[in-house]
Subunit: 403 residues, 2 copies
C-alpha cells in the first residue's frame, strides 16, 4: 500500500480521482503530481484537533507551485514567505498582505522595500535589519509591521533540522530581545509580536509538545518587555512526516490536545494575541508523488538496474544529497504493481551521468520493464524547487495539480 | 593569496583585467565571474605536456554557460554532452557534430533521435540502448556513430567520485563487451571505439597514471573483439583541482609524460585511433569565483555571522550538501582584503532560511561589513547548474564571462 491516503485501483495509482497513467500519457514524464484533496484533508485534520482560533499558516517554500499556493491560501489563515520572489507569489494568490509574513536572515534592501510597500509582516532577524527596515519605512512614509524572530536558548531534541539554540544566524538571541525591543519602541515600526521557530521535521509527539510549551513560555516572558500589547505569536512548525522505514506519523490528536491546554493561560496573559503555527512540509509533503518512466533495464555484475528518465535534478532529497548524511529509501512503487508482492531486488537510478543519482537502493519491486512508471511517494514538498534543475541540461519536470 | 592564477591589485581581485568591484557594481550580486584567459592558460598547460595529437574534450556539464562553451570550443578538440539539452548547446557553439559525443545512462528515444539526426557519437550504455538506437537510426535512414562505454573491472583509488568497478549503471561491464560487439557488428551502427571513464576529481598523480594505464590496456584488450578498426578511444578524465586545505594541485607534467609513454605502443596497436581525454572541472573550475555581498553582520552567543545575499541555491557544493559527507571550507576572501592578515574568525552564511546554507565555517578574515564583497574561489565548475536555483524563490545569480 502507498503511504498517506492516495487511492489505488487495480494496483494503479489515482491522483484526485484520475489514473496516474493517464496523467503521464497526457502530460509526459518525469512529473510531479499533487493531490489538492489530500491537502484539504490534512488541513481539516488539523482544524479538528488544534485549538479553536489557532491560525494555520502555509510556508510556501515547501511547494511554491502557484496552483498549490492558491489552493492552500483558500484553506489556511496566512502565508509565510522567505524571499522577495515568494512574496510576489503570495501576493499573486490574492492573500491579504496582513496575512503574509516574511522571514529570512539575509533580506536585502530591495526585499525590505517590497515588504514594507506591500504591508506584510516582516520577521526581524537582527538589530541591523530592524534599523534598515525602519529607515526604508520612513523613506516610504510607512510604518512597517514587524515581529521579532527569536533564537531561543532551548533546542529541539531530534529535530530533522535545528533552527534554534546555540549561536545561530536566525533571529535575535532571546537574551538580546529585551534590548532590541527597547530600541524598537523608538523606531517608526509597528510591533506586532514574535516569531519563534525552533526546528522542523519532528515526528515525536512528546518532543514537539515540549518544543511548543517552551515556545509559548518564551513568548510570554518576552512579552513583558514588549513596547505595546502582543497581537501575534507565530509558534513555528516542525510537524514532520514519515519518509523512511520505521518512521511513524505524528500523533496529531495528542499535539492538538496539549497545545489547546497550553493556550488557555497564554491567551489570558496575552488577550490581544493571535497564535499561529506555520506548516510547510506537513501540509503538502504527503500529497505529492514524483513519477518517472523506466528507459533502460540492465544487469551489471549480478545487480539489476532500472534507469528512469528522472533523477536528482528534480528531487535532490530523494537521492540523499540534500542535508542527509546517509541515504535512505523513500517509499516507492511501480504503477500497476502497487500492493503486489516483490519479485526482484533492484537499484533504481536516474538518467544523470553521476553515481549520486540514486532513486532507490536494493528495493523489492514486482518485475518492471522499459516504459513502466516508477512512483516515489512523500514527494509533495521540497521537490523541484529544492533541486538542481539545470544540472546536466535536462528538461524541467512537469508539475500537475489536481483537485 | 587567492588560489589559482587570479590577479590581485591593492588587495582587490581582477577578473580578466577588470576589477571585481566594478563588475559587481555594474552587474549586481550575487554573481559568478569566469575568466576566459585562465581557461586558455589551462588548455595551453595541458597541450604543453600531454602527448602530441591527444584530443582534449570539454565536458560541458562542468559549466554550460554558452559563452564558456563557445570559448572552450575554440580551444579544444571536442565537446562531451550528457543530455539533449547539452547537445543543443554544443551544436549551437558551431562545433562540428563529429567532434561531439553524448554519454548518459538514461537517454530517451527523443535524445537518441536528436543525436542520430545530428550525427554526433553516441556512447552506448547498454545493449538495450544499442538496440533502441539501431532502430531509431534505421527509421531515420542513418547509421549512427557509436562508441561503447565500458564499465571497467578496475576501480580508481581515491577518486572523488567512482564511476567504474563493481556493479554500476554506467556503461557495459567489460566482460560483457565482446558479446555486445558481436551483436553490434550485425546492426546498422557505425562502430568508432570506446569510452572508458573510471572516476573524477583525482588529485594524486600516481593514482591518475595507474587509472590511465589500466584504461589504455583495457581499450587494447577490447579492441581485439571490435567489429572494425578502432578509430576513437576516450580515456575519460578525472583530473582534479584542489578545493580544501591540504590539497595540492595535480602534477600535470608527470601525468603528461606517463601518458605520452603509454600511447607509443597503444598507437602502434591501434594505428587508426584518435585518443582523447575528457575534462570538465579541470578546465574551468579554477577560472571562476562566486561573489556575494554582505547584507548583515550579527553576533549570536559570541559567534560573529556575516550574512550574504548568496547561498546554496547558487552554489550547493560550497555548502557541503552535494555528495559530501563532511563540509569543508572552500578558499574565500573579502574583496579589498585579499592577502591582509585575518582580524577575526567568523561564520559566513547565505540568505536562505535553513541551517544548511553555510558558505564558510570559522574562517579567519579581515574585518568585513555590510556592503563588502565575499569571494569564493574554485567556483568555475558545478556552480549554478548544479544548484537548486529555485529554492526559496530567490533570484538567479548573474553570470559574467570575461576574456
Amino acid at each position: 500500500m502507498p503511504p498517506g491516503d492516495f487511492e489505488v485501483r487495480d494496483h494503479a495509482l489515482l491522483v484526485a480521482g484520475t489514473r496516474l497513467a493517464e496523467i503521464a500519457a497526457a502530460r509526459g514524464t518525469p512529473l510531479f503530481a499533487y493531490d489538492g484533496r489530500l491537502m484539504a484533508r490534512r488541513v481539516a485534520a488539523l482544524r479538528a484537533v488544534m485549538p479553536d482560533g489557532l491560525h494555520l499558516h502555509y510556508a510556501i517554500k515547501a511547494n511554491p507551485m502557484p496552483e498549490v499556493i492558491a489552493h492552500l491560501a483558500r484553506l489556511v489563515d496566512g502565508l509565510d514567505v522567505a524571499s522577495g520572489g515568494e512574496l510576489d507569489r503570495a501576493l499573486a494568490s490574492q492573500t491579504a498582505p496582513a496575512r503574509i509574513s516574511f522571514a529570512g536572515p539575509g533580506k536585502t534592501d530591495a526585499e525590505l522595500t517590497a515588504a514594507a510597500s506591500a504591508g506584510v509582516t516582516v520577521n526581524l532577524e537582527s538589530a541591523g535589519e530592524m534599523r534598515r527596515l525602519a529607515a526604508i519605512g520612513a523613506a516610504l512614509g510607512r510604518r512597517p509591521r514587524v515581529a521579532v524572530r527569536v533564537n531561543p536558548l532551548f533546542e529541539t531534541r531530534q529535530s530533522g533540522m535545528r533552527m534554534g539554540g546555540g549561536a545561530k544566524p536566525f533571529g535575535v538571541d532571546e537574551e538580546q530581545v529585551p534590548a532590541l525591543l527597547a530600541e524598537l519602541a523608538g523606531l517608526p515600526l509597528d510591533f506586532a509580536g514574535f516569531h519563534i521557530f525552533a526546528g522542523s521535521q519532528v515526528l515525536g509527539g512528546d518532543i514537539l509538545i515540549d518544543c511548543l510549551r517552551s515556545t509559548v513560555e518564551l513568548a510570554l516572558r518576552l512579552a513583558e518587555a514588549a513596547p505595546s500589547p502582543v497581537r501575534y505569536v507565530n509558534l513555528g512548525g516542525g510537524f514532520g512526516i514519515p519518509y523512511f522505514p520505521g518512521e511513524t506519523p505524528l500523533d496529531l490528536a495528542r499535539v492538538g490536545a496539549a497545545l489547546t491546554e497550553m493556550l488557555i493561560p497564554a491567551r489570558q496573559a496575552l488577550p490581544q494575541a493571535v497564535f499561529a503555527i506555520e506548516l510547510g512540509r506537513y501540509l503538502v509533503g504527503e500529497a505529492g508523488v514524483y513519477v518517472s518512466r523506466i528507459v533502460d533495464r540492465k544487469v551489471s555484475r549480478g545487480k539489476t538496474f532500472l534507469v528512469t528518465d528522472g533523477g536528482l535534478h528534480h528531487h535532490l532529497a530523494l537521492s540523499g544529497n540534500f542535508g542527509q548524511v546517509i541515504r535512505k529509501n523513500y517509499p516507492v512503487a511501480i504503477d500497476g504493481g502497487i500492493g503486489r508482492a516483490p519479485e526482484e531486488t533492484v537499484d533504481v537510478v536516474g538518467c544523470l551521468c553521476t553515481p549520486l543519482d540514486r532513486l532507490g537502493d536494493n528495493v523489492g519491486l514486482p518485475r518492471a520493464d522499459v516504459g513502466d512508471l516508477f512512483i516515489v511517494f512523500q514527494s509533495g514538498a521540497y521537490g523541484p524547487s529544492a533541486s538542481p534543475g539545470a544540472f546536466l541540461g535536462h528538461a524541467a519536470p512537469v508539475e500537475v495539480f489536481l483537485d
